[in-house]
């Protein structure tokens, strides 16, 4: 092939351009640590990476929801534990005041103890977690229980039966609250045959004051029923906490594997990048050397 002078210059330009472009691409990968720096670098990979990033955001949000839910469950659990203790001591008082014809001074002291317990249970029932009343159902911004002395029932529930569901996975919602009507059997919500806990305590107080053994014994039976319901509710909370913890572990491992997939999809293999960079630099150097040799005039300077 006949080679013209401009051809030599042009081909040197082309090769230098190509070598520089390749080097630039590899340098970009080395600097960013990414194989895909824009969608056109690998459209399929970029789309997949976008999908992974979105899934990652989703998982992080589920983790936040789990944390929120755990706080709520913990608050519910410790409040329930306190209420269980209060009901137990009310039962102890009832047993102490029953049957043996105790002196009326002692029984009135016991009755005032029961009254204090009743007030404590109302306070506990109005517990809040970061400003949200935990036993109000969806009515979380106003105290759900209000004392109404002298009336039946002695405490009025203004909450509802709402169950808060937190999402902790694509298809997994967990209830985090126990509505107060269930917990305290308001209006026979949990057991229609029984009065609510506050009425029981109030009845116990009245029976103690009156020395009404039958009344005291009836209250003991009711307290037993309340106790067993409260304990089983703690169990329910405990099992929700467990499933939350399990979900948290699963989410952590999903997050890790998403991170790994994302890295595999868009991260540059730095060892390979370094090798490529070295190789491209060699190519570039060689092209530059060739260019330097080409620029020497041939026949021209031999003859003059």
């Amino acid at each position: 092939m006949r080679i013209s002078t401009a051809m030599m210059a042009h081909s040197v330009q082309t090769y230098l351009g190509r070598a520089t472009e390749n080097m630039f691409k590899i340098q970009e990968q080395a600097a960013s640590g990414l194989r895909i720096n824009r969608p056109s670098d690998d459209p399929t990979g970029a789309q997949y990476a976008a999908n992974l990033r979105s899934a990652q955001a989703e998982v992080v949000q589920y983790q936040k929801n789990v944390d929120e839910g755990m706080h709520f469950l913990k608050a519910t659990d410790s409040t329930l534990a306190g209420i269980v203790n209060m009901v137990r001591s009310a039962r102890d008082i009832a047993i102490a005041g029953a049957g043996n014809g105790a002196a009326s001074e002692m029984r009135s002291a016991l009755a005032s103890n029961v009254d204090q317990i009743l007030n404590s249970v109302v306070r506990a029932a109005n517990s809040d977690e970061a400003g949200r009343f935990i036993f109000g159902g969806f009515k979380t911004v106003t105290p759900p229980f209000a004392a109404d002395p002298g009336n039946t029932p002695p405490v009025i529930y203004s909450g509802d039966s709402g169950i808060m569901m937190f999402q902790i996975g694509r298809a997994s919602n967990v209830a985090v609250n126990l509505p107060g009507d269930q917990v305290f059997n308001m209006n026979g919500e949990a057991n229609p045959a029984m009065p609510d806990l506050f009425s029981t305590l109030n009845d116990l107080k009245t029976a103690l004051l009156a020395g009404d053994d039958a009344g005291i014994n009836a209250a003991i039976a009711q307290l037993d029923d309340h106790l067993s319901r409260l304990i089983s509710m703690r169990g329910e909370i405990g099992s929700r906490q467990q499933s939350m913890e399990l979900a948290a572990n699963q989410l952590a491992s999903v997050e890790f594997s998403l991170k790994e997939s994302l890295s595999k999809t868009e991260d540059a293999d730095l060892v390979k990048v370094m090798m490529d960079l070295q190789q491209q630099q060699n190519t570039y150097q060689a092209t530059v050397n060739v260019a330097a040799m080409l620029s020497r005039p041939g026949l021209w300077d031999r003859l003059t």
Partner: protein
């Protein structure tokens, strides 16, 4: 045979070698001239002269009387030129597509965590956060801010895509002017060339200039050349002669139905349909790709607005308001925005499924679930639709790059073949100059000898 034949013969050689030397000089001078084709001097022996006194019909009865310059040939391959123009059109078509798309790609993918998809992720996350904390005013403010961010991301994308399209549009007028200038130049050159040819002169340099203009127009428009037998090449665009002889048709750019400029023939107002060249690439991006991206954004925005609103209307806010929109109803990505009711008071954001249920986040949860619900045509979610758009822009750039790569290879190869035929080699010219110089020296020597011989006759014979 005349007494002076020897002198005339030598003179013809002196003149011919001189001409060849000048041509070599012209070649050397134009070694870097764009579109210059190497010129070669063709010699031939001058018509022989019957020798006086020799019997007619015998061999050797004719005596040569020197050399003449037959032609100055232009080293080129017509077919290669045509091919080169075609690949040039293809190459510049994809290059202009790629340039425009690269800009769009950077608009669509500003970086991980900054694109519309990431903004939407944040928006869905905010609904989730609200579902776990529906009474919390700061969770509501966050959600409103994220809703505004999604809306402004959509609007920004639309704005910048439209801006890209009008950017492309603003270059059209200049390009049309360039075409018109070039075609009228070609028409002028055609006239000069046919004049020169009529006088049996070879207008090499004019042909070179015309080829450069042909090439430029092919790059812009993909126009092709048709050379009728014995005639001048016709520059053909869209089945119509853009330049024929010394007549050039004008093109004009006028706003079309889309509001963007369209290219038309100035004589009969018919539109020019471009298949190749820089303009075809620009039009493809402006008229097909950008509108396609925009309509996908519109689909996403209108689905987002209607789906979120449908749920939101059924829900109740902290202030017990219901039947409110979250986004102002609309079907365009260009004007999507958060509804005034929400902007006025974040408590209006409907998170609950019933009134008087501040702790109920179930409606927020239902809206958050839209993230993965297949609400778009084709059974994909809004986020997936975005990922698809994101990938398809990348793919469009990649397709253009691949085309450029192969077109460039072919074009380069043709260029080097063309250069191989037409390009000036300084070494070669040097060698030829030496050749011509020696021939010139020798002819001069012949002249001296002829002169001496005449001297012998005139001076020595006359002295007797």
């Amino acid at each position: 045979m005349s007494t002076f034949t020897g002198i005339i013969t030598a003179l013809s050689s002196l003149q011919a070698q001189q001409q060849a030397m000048d041509t070599a000089g012209h070649n050397v001078a134009n070694v870097n001239t764009l579109g210059y084709r190497r010129q070669e001097v063709r010699f031939s022996a001058r018509g022989p002269y019957p020798l006086a006194g020799s019997a007619a019909g015998t061999m050797g009865g004719l005596c040569g009387i020197g050399v003449q310059v037959d032609s100055i040939r232009r080293a080129q391959d017509e077919f290669l030129n045509l091919h080169f123009n075609t690949t040039g059109g293809e190459l510049s078509r994809w290059t202009s597509t790629q340039n425009a798309l690269k800009e769009i790609e950077s608009i669509m993918a500003p970086g991980p965590g900054l694109d519309l998809g990431a903004t939407m992720d944040k928006f869905w996350d905010a609904w989730q956060s609200l579902s776990t904390n529906p009474e919390d005013l700061s969770a509501r403010s966050d959600l409103r801010a994220d809703g505004l961010a999604v809306a402004s991301s959509f609007r920004n994308l639309v704005q910048r895509l439209r801006w890209s399209a009008s950017n492309i549009d603003s270059t059209i007028e200049n390009t049309v002017e360039e075409i018109n200038r070039a075609t009228s130049q070609i028409a002028g050159l055609n006239r000069d060339i046919s004049l020169a040819l009529g006088e049996s002169r070879q207008p090499n340099d004019l042909l070179d200039q015309r080829d450069v203009l042909f090439q430029r127009i092919a790059e812009i428009t993909g126009a092709t050349l048709i050379t009728p037998a014995g005639g001048q090449p016709i520059l053909n665009l869209n089945g119509k002669a853009l330049v024929q002889g010394n007549l050039a048709l004008e093109l004009k750019a006028e706003p079309g139905a889309s509001g963007y400029l369209e290219i038309k023939w100035a004589d009969d107002d018919t539109p020019v349909v471009l298949q190749s060249g820089e303009l075809a690439g620009k039009f493809q991006v402006r008229d097909q790709m950008i509108p396609q991206y925009l309509s996908q954004l519109d689909d996403m925005a209108s689905t987002l607005v209607s789906q979120v609103n449908t749920l939101h209307e059924q829900g109740f806010g902290l202030d017990n308001q219901t039947d409110l929109n979250f986004f102002t109803p609309g079907t365009s990505a260009a004007d999507i925005t958060v509804d005034d009711a929400i902007l006025d008071d974040v408590r209006a954001i409907a998170s609950a499924s019933a009134a008087d249920s501040p702790g109920d986040g179930s409606m927020a949860l239902a809206i958050a679930a839209l993230r993965t619900e297949p609400v778009m045509a084709g059974g994909i979610s809004i986020n997936q639709s975005w990922q698809y758009l994101y990938g398809s822009v990348g793919n469009d750039v990649k397709v253009a790059e691949d085309h450029i790569y192969s077109a460039q290879l072919i074009h380069d190869q043709l260029a080097s073949r063309q250069q191989s035929i037409s390009g000036v080699s300084l070494d070669e010219e040097m060698a030829q100059m030496i050749q011509y110089q020696h021939a010139y020296d020798a002819a001069a020597r012949v002249l001296t000898v002829a002169d001496e011989m005449l001297g012998t006759i005139i001076e020595q014979m006359g002295a007797r």
